[in-house]
């Protein structure tokens, strides 16, 4: 696998250099792809071409998401690279079984489900901004971009939305804390304890189901068998870890961009109808989930390279999103870019189940920030994640603005 004919990309997708400027780096590595070999982390194929990424992620029979436990017992080690020591459910399950989980969860994440929570989304955003609007100072990440998706996430699961800020804080801390630092273990423990505390709600919903994800999971059967309590907790963990900080990151990156590009901000303020296409463009260029992995099940040719059965393949959604064969002028943010067949939510059967919520949350939060803090200016001390691995984003986003008046109720809109 290391003949001179094989294009090599030698970089650490968990390293600080990659995290410093993902767009520039994705363009740089993309120039060597669509498919190249990366010798780091045991060696893996790095796929950046838009067509090649689509081909991999639509062919689950050849490029498997499956994760055998214990991790490392077979080549099938799931969707993160290096692999996690546990299975992520249900994204690390292949068709046809994956489809049974997906069908069970589908209605809770459909456009109709989003529509039911649209008013809540605006109420939470108003409340979050109200808490800071009179002061002229805000951390756009910690005070708005993170808690709003978290509170909606709680509503979707069936957890009291007052717990949103707690899960926002913990899922954010887990995403940016370096796994090798002293803070990581206590942070990780606090996060897993918070997720584990939801078990009491699972027990309650087994007896008294409502219209929420926990009820769906508490009564979900796969091939006639109820799923286990452990599997229920695995899915809730995924919904929290994949559903909060990803959207928070997308909002934060967008607001950072609109601080740098004041013309774009002015365009969006003057023409709110531009927001839906701007949201798609922000998703394309910032791609909160930068990469996910697969394992080849057979020898296969892809993008001119020969991949062998058992080899690992790292799919770069972010790379696909700056592939100039699909996106002319890929490094430029073009608010009305069309068409925009970006890969930010993935392709194929594993397409992000929360994508309809994510879009609506981005649209609501960015619109309200522009409406109520149109002159916000980022303050000093903005910090980016020092490692990407999977998610890219900002640790914080402190800003100042001309103070305004509260517009919502004085107490939390539970």
């Amino acid at each position: 696998m290391t003949s001179p004919d094989i294009p090599l990309v030698d970089f650490d997708h968990w390293g600080p250099e990659y995290a410093a400027d993902p767009v520039r780096n994705n363009l740089r590595y993309g120039a060597k792809c669509p498919v190249a070999f990366n010798p780091r982390h045991g060696g893996f194929w790095f796929v950046t071409g838009h067509d090649e990424v689509a081909r991999v992620t639509r062919d689950d029979a050849t490029f498997s998401s499956h994760h055998d436990l214990p991790t490392g017992s077979t080549p099938f080690v799931g969707t993160q690279h290096p692999p996690l020591p546990f299975r992520v459910t249900p994204i690390e399950i292949d068709p046809p079984v994956h489809g049974k989980w997906r069908t069970g969860l589908g209605p809770d994440f459909s456009p109709a489900a989003v529509k039911k929570l649209r008013d809540k989304m605006l109420e939470y955003t108003t409340w979050c901004i109200d808490e800071k609007i009179e002061t002229g100072e805000i951390d756009l990440l910690a005070d708005v971009a993170s808690p709003v998706p978290a509170m909606i996430n709680m509503d979707v699961m069936g957890v009291p939305s007052e717990r949103g800020p707690e899960f926002a804080y913990l899922s954010h801390a887990i995403a940016y804390t370096n796994p090798e630092s002293a803070e990581f273990l206590p942070t990780y423990k606090a996060y897993t304890d918070a997720v584990a505390s939801l078990a009491a709600i699972v027990e309650e919903r087994k007896k008294h189901p409502r219209q929420d994800v926990i009820s769906t999971l508490a009564h979900l059967q796969i091939d006639g068998e109820p799923i286990t309590d452990g599997e229920i907790m695995e899915v809730l963990d995924l919904i929290i870890s994949a559903g909060i900080d990803t959207t928070a990151s997308a909002i934060a990156c967008s607001l950072k961009y609109l601080d740098d590009d004041r013309d774009a901000r002015q365009m969006l303020i003057e023409n709110p109808a531009l927001m839906p296409s701007a949201v798609e463009e922000f998703l394309r260029i910032f791609s909160p989930v930068q990469v996910l992995a697969r394992t080849a099940t057979r020898d296969v040719e892809l993008g001119g390279q020969q991949i062998s059965a058992g080899e690992r393949v790292l799919v770069s959604w972010a790379g696909a999103n700056v592939d100039e064969r699909t996106f002319p002028d890929p490094a430029s943010v073009i608010l009305d870019r069309f068409p925009n067949r970006h890969a930010a939510f993935g392709f194929g059967v594993h397409r992000c189940i929360g994508s309809h919520f994510a879009r609506a949350e981005m649209n609501t939060v960015i619109s309200e920030v522009l409406k109520r803090m149109p002159d916000y200016t980022l303050a000093s001390g903005v910090r980016k994640y020092t490692a990407i691995g999977v998610i890219q984003g900002y640790v914080n986003l402190p800003a100042t603005f001309t103070p305004g008046a509260r517009t919502g109720p004085a107490s939390f809109p539970a």
Binding site: S110, A112, P276, E280, P339, F347, H356
Partner: protein, 72 residues
């Protein structure tokens, strides 16, 4: 068909084997497409203006939308 803007109307179809419920079509053209409870798209209008149909097809991440025939 990505750049053409033919006049007249066309017949649209969503290929259910390819659609993965991204929802780009029904967000953009709610008069032409709708979602089911799995977020999958289906057409709700037998015919569509050609320009909008071409736009919807060219913006689909899964290439699941086909334009079946053009009527003058």
């Amino acid at each position: 068909v990505t750049h053409a803007s033919p006049a007249g109307s066309v017949r649209l179809a969503v290929n259910g084997d390819l659609c993965r419920g991204h929802g780009r079509c029904y967000s953009l053209f709610p008069d032409l497409f709708d979602a089911d409870d799995q977020s999958m798209s289906h057409v709700i209008s037998d015919t569509a203006p050609a320009t909008e149909a071409v736009q919807a097809a060219s913006n689909c991440p899964e290439r699941a939308i086909t334009i079946r025939e053009v009527t003058p």
